[in-house]
């Protein structure tokens, strides 16, 4: 050891101890020295220095011979040196004269003044590639300078004392800095923000500028070596900033300088005790020691060599050759290769898996044994980089690590991991735990450096955030700029990663980051009568995982599986425990839905999720069920539809809504894969309403939208994943199912409301509309079934019709299509329907009168007549019925004024009387109407035989019926020969006049009861496509729904498909009772004329106009003019 004493040469003369610095040039051929007490920077030839040292001479000798060049440009002492790595090497120096200068290297020609400070520079550092220079000193900011154009790219402020040590992370993610108080700050280079700060972990040197606190990253970037408070060196983890291990040994005073060997296996430290120690980092032992006369204040390990340059406070420098004994591993072996890629982050857990594949490592590894896990770790990593597509074990591990690491990332990231993992067949069992989905906020996107991302996006608006120098800017925007309040943007010092919003306010939360940054929940109402009504909650030892906001409440689910519910004023209302780790939460009005993990993934890789819906104001749980996902998929969106249906969207692109059907089940209503137009499209669901899904289309590789440009919502129709049927009417079938679903939803709602005793009239109307729409759809399906010769299916469909009018319509349809078998079937369906109605009506009556004894007796005799009718065939029997009716009805008026019980008795009398002579069902139906007050049926029936005048009376009757005056009703009704079947099965010739009469009937009714017929017009209001026009026309005609205006619309559409003669018929029908506005009439006429200008039609219209007494009127003139034009047109042809 003595023989290997390092000889020092005087480079800089200094009277008192000052800080001197030393650095190696790239390649290790030159050594640069500088002193705070000297203006000169000296560049020495390393070989010459070594040779001179070898030649002997005292340590106080001059090294002038070895000096290659001297730079004297600074006006004051030089305090910092840095040599840029890379080919175009340059030298940077910082001085007490406040400036930083660049020189070419090694010739030392001045290049530029880089930057000026207001106070002395203390430290300089280049990053690994030499693209960035960090400079700092007594000023309060660290300046990051882009070397390419000498611009200051960032100023990092945060240190309280002067910064004396800087070190770039070799992976270029962090910059570490240390100040004279011993505080270390990790700066995130991407954002320029403080990643973490470690306060006073290194010795404090105060204002003594001859000692600089330093720090140094290990060459693989895994550790940061910092002088410790106990004369030791402490290693801190790059990601967590936690202390990993310490090097404690022979230093009797604090360490003041340190440097890593190129491979990170060794560390050289200099202490205030004038000792320099070499450490074997693996064994955490010092292996070499030298004592010097003066304090060594700067050290530099030779790049790619086994030598250390050092300089003491008096300006004497030397090179310590072969510092690591040759018996040990060379300090240059296994230099980590960090240039290739960005290094994925690893936790310490991967230590247990030493790699079996070959790497860069030589056999020195074996000689050192397996004592130190650190060694393996680094080794494994380096092999991983060499073999990025290495064995599956490694990859699995990485996936595992990654997913564990990024628990705070959104689901999409994890989805990718899970997908990859699933593809890897060998891994299914092992990755189970890794696939548990992390918590996410519906409608959020992943943060991207330098870009805005969504914290929340829903149908109402969006919340976006962007990271910006240590804090974030959060903006809340409403889609509807006309209505939503304008929300000022907010500066966010918490780093919110979760948010939710509704009409009244927004809630934010951040995860906890270390001890300092506790998880915080913050609520901002959009408008409030009170001044400062935003509030925040802090959670100690607990982390918010998901937030939701509803009407008057805010909910947060935390890492302790607590559900915390606050009022919007900030009162802590409830704290509940949730059954498992939360996945997500959503609020809608009073309802809060929480999705949580019920257990580990199944061995197939499927997640087991539970969903709970709570009613906050009532403190009740309205639903607790399993959340259904497509196998091996993850939940990617969750929320309520516009009308409050619980819905979920998974990573396989299936959207489900929860329905009360079958005791509560999830119904798939949309498949992204079926709906997308091309392979690379994906849907990012935002919301849905009863019929449509609102989503943002994303083109791969992006799976989520960017904030700019503003995403545009796409509307997609909900569609069931139907099997392709032989009917070839998939869209109709889909519509049928959809309407059925909607109807059941509405009916549920009505039941709920009725149970609460609320007024349901508004919803009743809606339900009626739904029924009408469903019937219309079924009728179309029936027609396509008939065309496809699926008669059984058509019959089944007919049974599903709700409105009796629709059944009759269906009969019309099959009559037109010449399917007598179906006609018969349908009529029997109608009969059954009426029968059952009768039964219900009767039992109702009887239960009212509490005379239940009759009910069994009544039910039985009714069946045979119905059957008889079916057998005999209506077409023969029915025309005779109107004649029968008066006879039977003569009896009824006399009895009608009596009590209900008497009526019932009467009925019993009638039934046996009539059945032997095959009384048709209509009779019973009529009677039942009398009893039950079912007005609708009567209306239909009456239309056939009676005149218009009669009907208007009938209309009044219905009003009366509505008022529940049973006596009145039956009295008048008895005068009407009512039989709904009278003409239904009639032959084709009859049908047109029948339609007319039905139609007239309807219109008359409409006059009386406008509201009712409005509902019926729903059938018409649906858009009529060309190919469906005839069908619709038939249906509509058959049903005779609608008012005059609707009729005109129908006419117009018929006209456009050149059914002119039919139109003329209808027009005539309308003309007679003077229906519709003149304009409508004229419009249709004009339309017809333009389509088909046959004389016949023209004349017919003129005739009609005459009948409408338009003589001399303006309309008539116009009509004539039109006719004239038509004739002219024809003439010109």
């Amino acid at each position: 050891m003595k023989g290997r004493a390092v000889k020092l040469w005087v480079a800089h003369k200094a009277g008192s101890p000052v800080f001197c610095s030393v650095a190696w040039g790239q390649g290790g051929q030159h050594v640069v020295t500088a002193s705070a007490g000297d203006l000169a920077i000296l560049i020495h030839d390393a070989a010459a220095v070594a040779a001179a040292a070898g030649a002997g001479g005292r340590s106080s000798g001059s090294a002038g011979a070895a000096v290659v060049s001297t730079i004297r440009l600074h006006k004051d002492g030089v305090t910092a040196l840095a040599v840029a790595p890379g080919s175009g090497a340059s030298l940077a120096s910082g001085s007490i004269d406040h400036s930083v200068k660049f020189y070419s290297f090694p010739d030392g020609v001045f290049q530029s003044n880089v930057v000026r400070f207001t106070l002395p520079i203390r430290s300089l550092a280049f990053n690994k590639k030499g693209t960035l220079l960090a400079a700092a000193g007594d000023d309060d900011g660290i300046k990051l300078i882009a070397t390419i154009d000498n611009t200051i790219s960032k100023v990092l402020k945060g240190h309280k004392g002067s910064v004396t040590g800087l070190s770039f992370d070799p992976r270029n993610e962090y910059l570490a800095s240390i100040d004279t108080f011993g505080t270390v700050i990790f700066w995130d280079l991407c954002t320029g923000t403080e990643a973490r700060a470690l306060s006073r972990i290194a010795p404090t040197f105060g204002s003594d500028h001859s000692i600089n606190n330093v720090l140094c990253w290990s060459p693989d970037g895994q550790f940061l070596a910092v002088p410790g408070l106990r004369n030791n060196v402490v290693m801190y983890d790059r990601d967590t900033g936690e202390m990993v291990f310490t090097l404690k040994g022979e230093h009797e005073q604090p360490v003041c300088s340190l440097c890593w060997s190129p491979n990170g296996g060794y560390l050289v430290t200099a202490g205030l005790d004038k000792q320099v120690l070499i450490w074997d980092v693996k064994s955490k032992q010092d292996i070499e020691r030298q004592k010097f006369d003066e304090r060594i204040c700067s050290l530099a390990w030779k790049p790619e060599g086994n030598a250390v340059a050092l300089i003491d406070v008096t300006g004497k420098f030397g090179i310590w050759e072969s510092v690591v004994p040759s018996t040990m591993k060379s300090p240059t072996d296994g230099v980590p290769d960090l240039n290739s890629t960005k290094v994925p982050l690893f936790d310490d857990e991967d230590d247990e898996k030493p790699s079996t594949s070959g790497g860069l490592e030589d056999d020195g590894d074996e000689s050192l044994g397996e004592s130190a896990p650190f060694n393996h770790k680094r080794l494994r990593k380096s092999t991983y980089h060499d073999h990025p597509n290495g064995d599956s074990e490694d990859e699995d591990l990485m996936l595992q690590m990654e997913s564990r690491k990024r628990t705070k990332d959104t689901h999409r990231d994890n989805k990718g991991v899970a997908d990859k993992a699933r593809d890897d067949s060998a891994t299914s069992g092992r990755l189970v735990t890794a696939r548990l989905q992390a918590a996410f906020q519906p409608g959020s996107t992943q943060p991207q450096p330098g870009k805005r991302n969504f914290l929340a996006y829903n149908m109402l608006g969006s919340i976006t955030t962007i990271q910006n120098e240590g804090h974030s800017h959060v903006e809340v925007d409403f889609h509807d700029t006309g209505r939503g309040p304008r929300i000022p943007s907010m500066t966010d010092y918490f780093g919110f990663t979760m948010a939710a919003m509704n009409e009244s306010g927004s809630v934010f939360a951040n995860p906890c980051k270390g001890d300092k940054n506790m998880s915080t929940l913050m609520y901002r109402p959009f408008s409030s009568w009170a001044g400062n009504s935003e509030w925040s909650m802090r959670f100690e030892g607990e982390e918010v995982k998901a937030v939701a906001v509803g009407a008057g409440w805010v909910a947060a689910v935390t890492s302790l599986n607590f559900l915390r519910v606050f009022t919007d004023g900030g009162l802590q209302m409830h704290i509940l425990s949730v059954s498992g780790p939360v996945v997500t939460a959503a609020g809608h009005g009073d309802q809060l839905a929480i999705v949580s993990h019920a257990s580990d993934c199944l061995s197939s890789g499927d997640q087991v999720l539970d969903v709970k819906v709570l009613k906050i104001s009532e403190g009740a749980q309205s639903l607790s069920s399993r959340l259904v996902l497509t196998p091996t998929s993850q939940l990617s969106w969750f929320g309520f539809s516009e009308n409050g249906q619980l819905s979920s969207f998974d990573s396989k692109g299936i959207l489900r809504i929860f329905s009360g059907q079958f005791g509560g089940s999830w119904i798939p209503v949309f498949s992204s894969i079926k709906a997308r137009k091309s392979e690379d499209e994906s849907h990012w669901v935002v919301g849905l309403d009863a019929n449509n899904i609102f989503c943002i289309l994303c083109k791969s590789p992006e799976s989520y939208p960017q904030v700019m440009p503003k995403p545009v919502l796409t509307i997609l129709e909900q569609s069931f994943p139907l099997a392709s049927s032989d009917l070839g009417a998939n869209s109709l079938e889909n519509e049928f199912m959809m309407r059925k679903l909607q109807l059941s939803q509405i009916q549920n709602k009505i039941e709920e409301m009725a149970a609460l005793g609320l007024d349901t009239t508004a919803i009743d109307d809606e339900a009626f509309n739904m029924e009408a729409a469903l019937d219309r759809c079924i009728l179309r399906l029936i027609s396509s079934c008939c065309n496809g010769d699926k008669l059984v299916r058509a019959t089944e469909l007919a049974k599903l019709l709700t409105l009796e009018k629709s059944i009759k319509g269906a009969m019309m349809l099959v009559t037109r299509l010449k399917l007598p078998i179906l006609q018969e079937k349908f009529s029997s369906i109608l009969e059954e329907r009426m029968l059952s109605n009768t039964r219900i009506a009767r039992t109702a009556v009887f239960s009212n009168t509490t005379n239940t004894m009759y009910s069994p007796a009544l039910v039985t005799p009714e069946v045979p007549p119905a059957k008889l009718v079916q057998k005999s065939g209506n077409s023969l029997k029915l025309p005779t019925l109107p004649k029968l009716n008066p006879a039977t009805q003569q009896g009824s008026p006399s009895e009608s004024n009596k009590t209900e019980v008497e009526q019932a008795n009467n009925l019993i009398e009638i039934t046996p009387k009539v059945s032997p002579v095959q009384t048709p069902l209509a009779e019973i139906a009529k009677n039942s109407d009398k009893v039950g007050g079912k007005a609708k049926k009567d209306r239909d029936g009456a239309s056939n035989a009676t005149t218009v005048d009669h009907n208007s009376k009938g209309g009044f009757d219905q009003v009366a019926l509505k008022n529940k005056s049973v006596e009145d009703c039956s009295g008048v009704q008895s005068q009407r020969p009512v039989n709904p079947f009278a003409k239904l099965p009639s032959s084709k010739e009859q049908s047109s006049s029948l339609f007319d009469s039905i139609k007239k009937m309807k219109v008359e009714n409409e006059k009386v009861d406008k509201a009712k017929s409005k509902k019926m017009s729903v059938l018409f209001s649906c858009p009529m496509e060309d190919d469906n026009v005839v069908e619709d026309g038939l249906v509509a005609e058959a049903l005779g729904f609608g008012n005059a205006a609707d009729l005109m619309v129908l006419n117009a559409s018929l006209a456009s498909s050149s059914y002119i003669s039919r139109v003329a018929e209808l027009q005539e029908g309308a003309a007679e009772p003077e229906l519709g506005r003149d304009q409508d009439f004229l419009h249709v006429t004009a339309h017809c004329a333009s389509v088909d200008a046959s004389e016949l039609i023209q004349t017919r219209f003129i005739d009609m106009a005459r009948r409408r007494r338009w003589y001399g009127s303006r309309t008539y003139t116009m009509l004539q003019a039109m006719q004239l034009r038509c004739f002219k047109n024809r003439g010109s042809d």
Binding site: F478, H479, T481, F694, L713
Partner: protein, 211 residues
């Protein structure tokens, strides 16, 4: 162009052509909720924020001026498509590429009123100007070939503005040629043979464009 110098022969002024072009349908993304608008030309809407809907250009511009919507750039107005079109225009000296009939007017209106909605507006603008120049050059060179023997000129995919500019000139030229050449043409027909010449009977046909 020569035709423009004579105001009587120009049937539409450019602003009139622009007016006609305002009926073209474009897609907008409203940022307000609004009931359906019942216009003479049809019903538009209802409008929902952030959901695209189709309206005529004049309505889009009117809404845009009030800050109620953003106009979505039509497909053909993207840099990619325009570059393709420009290349194709340059490659085929005889043909015109299919572009919207009112492409000049639409792009002008969009540049005037919805510049911020067009990505790479500057590039798009210069591309459209280039295309216009190339096409017009083609038209001019095409017109040079008109001679006394020309009975018809067939120009496919010519846009409204282009047609409008060359129409007066074309018509007048053909008329002039017809006037001067018709005796000669009849003579020629005799020379060729006994074939009846319906061409001369009908005179020059003017099927400039099917529209």
């Amino acid at each position: 162009m020569a035709g423009q110098s004579d105001p009587h022969l120009s049937i539409f002024s450019p602003s009139e052509v622009e007016f006609v072009a305002e009926d073209e349908i474009v897609e907008i993304v409203p940022n307000i909720r609004m009931e359906a608008l019942n216009m003479i030309c049809g019903d538009f809407g209802p409008f929902f924020p952030q959901i695209a809907s189709k309206v005529p250009l004049w309505l889009a511009v009117a809404l845009k001026k009030r800050g109620k919507c953003t106009i979505r750039t039509p497909d053909w107005m993207t840099v990619d498509r325009l570059t393709q079109v420009l290349d194709a225009e340059r490659e085929s000296p005889k043909e015109f590429q299919p572009l919207p009939f009112h492409y000049i007017e639409i792009s002008k209106l969009l540049f005037d009123h919805a510049r911020d909605d067009i990505s790479d507006a500057y590039l798009v603008r210069s591309l459209i100007e280039d295309i216009r120049d190339v096409r017009f050059h083609k038209v001019e060179t095409g017109l040079e070939t008109i001679s006394g023997r020309t009975h018809a000129v067939k120009l496919k995919n010519l846009s409204a503005m282009e047609v409008n500019i060359i129409r007066p000139f074309m018509v007048r030229t053909l008329q002039a040629f017809y006037k001067h050449d018709s005796p000669q043409m009849i003579q020629q027909a005799y020379n060729i043979g006994s074939r009846p010449t319906p061409v001369t009977d009908r005179g020059p046909r003017r099927d400039l464009r099917r529209r």
